[in-house]
Amino acid sequence: MAMILEPERAAQLVADRLARPFGPADFEKDWLVRRTLEELGLHCEGEPNLQDLKGFMIASPRGTEIVVSERLGQDERLGVYAHLLAHALLEQGEDGEEGSFFSRLEYVEGREPAERKGAERKVEMVADALARAILRGRLDGTPQYCYRHKRGSAARAPGLRPRLGRFWLELCHRVSLMLFWHSPKYQRLRARREMSYLVRRVETLVRTAYAC
């Protein structure tokens, strides 16, 4: 059974809608994000009884649900939606593969499990950066391989030169992803608009030069 969740599409759509010029006022963002998620088939609901959890996501072939505490303010709710999407993105495999069940709990600050492993803290750090990018409406401020797992679906030009070009691009994206996972400084650098512009320019140049 395949899980009914397309985190790439959801994250991209949410980011796009939040980024629109003359976009929603702050007080409407929460509504817009929830509506976008529901358009994509994610069931969202408020829950008055949550205490230590801000919210959680459960995704399975039966559907995807996001439950958010009704005690949260609008900004906090936005943060929870973005964080859950970020974790769903990170949970995906290299080729966009996923298990058939995914769940993620978002804790109220200070109520997290005491013993978090180093790997979990790292995932949390990367999810924070991804969530910020979603909320800023600028997913391109993160490495492409963070939010676009299905690669090379377009028709690939044959020949050695295009293959070499694709190799360089792949290498650059992988290095960028690796740095993003390990360095908060790189995360900040990558989030800058100038950096996104530079990355786009370099990619265009390589694609032109290598006809790939």
């Binding site: 009884n49 949550l50 298990g99 709990l105």
Partner: protein, 139 residues
């Protein structure tokens, strides 16, 4: 008993002791939970299973066969959906869940993860999980 077929009664009579043993194993495996707590947890999920019913189920004394919903609820409250004894239980009762072992292990990991949460959070989460396992529409 009047509305149950003879063959159904005979089959349940043949398996209920083993079913009871499996149910007890489920409850006492992992961290183990008391009958009282299991009854409370099931109640929170919307089941009507008293502590004495749990005791009688485990001793193979109840006349009514267990439904799939009760079996899943029981295993879910014991965080033992991926336990071999739960698979044996499903086979005995003739039920099938469309989940792989890996999926059920993931469910169990989530169930273990939330054990440290306060009860209200646990109830909300457990209910959602139950409905996913059973394939019911969210309500």
């Amino acid at each position: 008993m009047a509305d149950r077929d003879e063959v159904q009664v005979a089959r349940w009579g043949a398996i209920r002791e083993r079913v009871g043993t499996c149910l007890r194993e489920l409850r006492t495996s992992e961290d183990g939970t008391s009958q009282a707590r299991l009854s409370g947890d099931l109640e929170d999920l919307g089941y009507h299973v008293t502590q004495s019913m749990i005791s009688r189920y485990e001793q193979g004394q109840l006349e009514q066969p267990l439904t799939l919903e009760r079996l899943v609820g029981w295993a879910l409250c014991c965080a033992s959906l991926s336990a071999p004894v739960f698979r044996e239980l499903l086979e005995l009762a003739g039920y099938l869940l469309p989940w792989s072992i890996d999926d059920l292990s993931r469910f169990d990991r989530t169930l273990h993860q939330y054990r440290a949460l306060p009860l209200p959070d646990q109830i909300v989460l457990r209910r959602k999980l139950l409905w996913h396992v059973l394939g019911l529409e969210p309500r």
